[in-house]
Amino acid sequence: MYLNQFLFLAAFLFCVGVYGVLARKNAVLVLMSIELILNAVNINLVAFGLFRESVAGQVFALFVIAVAAAEVGVGLAIVILIYRNRHSIDLTEVDMMKG
């Protein structure tokens, strides 16, 4: 097996995730796209771990999974807060962050 098999697949997932983050209106869908990106990173970590015969790849993949869990928890809390305040989770309407 080539190393690149995995890296290309990961790159593809990453770009699909980026597209999802850029193009989706629904905040929950954006969170899902972020999960795609994080998984792409994890594939890279584990693949390089096998390639270098090092355990660090797996360890850091575990850390990334833990961080992802925290991210989803806080992210969904924010989404619910937005929904409660605006009765919509359309991200195009959330545009207070401007000068």
Partner: protein, 164 residues
Amino acid sequence: MVAQNIVFGVLAVAMGLAAIRVVTTKNVVHAALYLVVVLAGVAALYILLAAEFIAVVQVIIYIGAIVLLILFGTMLTRAPIGRASDLDNDQRWLGVVVALLLLGVMGSVLADAFGSTKLPKAPQIQRTGDVGLSIFQTYVVPFEVVSVLLLAALVGAVVIARRD
């Protein structure tokens, strides 16, 4: 080797299609279900990469917990369960362009750097025990930091989402 490559091909195709469906489907719940396919595919890839512990964790945490959380989020925010026509914003075509260009850049870099690099034929497998020892010896400080992070996220999520 051949068998592994066949498995990888099947997985790659399934994951690629499912990933595209996640970001294009008109139905939020369907998107979550496609996400499950992608995550399960990633878990299978971990098995291919001889990382069985990560595979199990992937199934438990991602498919078990995170997708469930996302479905709850969908339900609580009363996002349309059926089809909804306007799930994409108006910059989707720009998004396609950027994503494709990004893929091009990354792909060319990868092809350039690891064009014909093969994974070792009989790699030294890192067993679950080795992962555990490594976490609690070499990486014990990051591990503790992650536990603090989880605590902070827990408290933060409660504080953000509670009604007061």
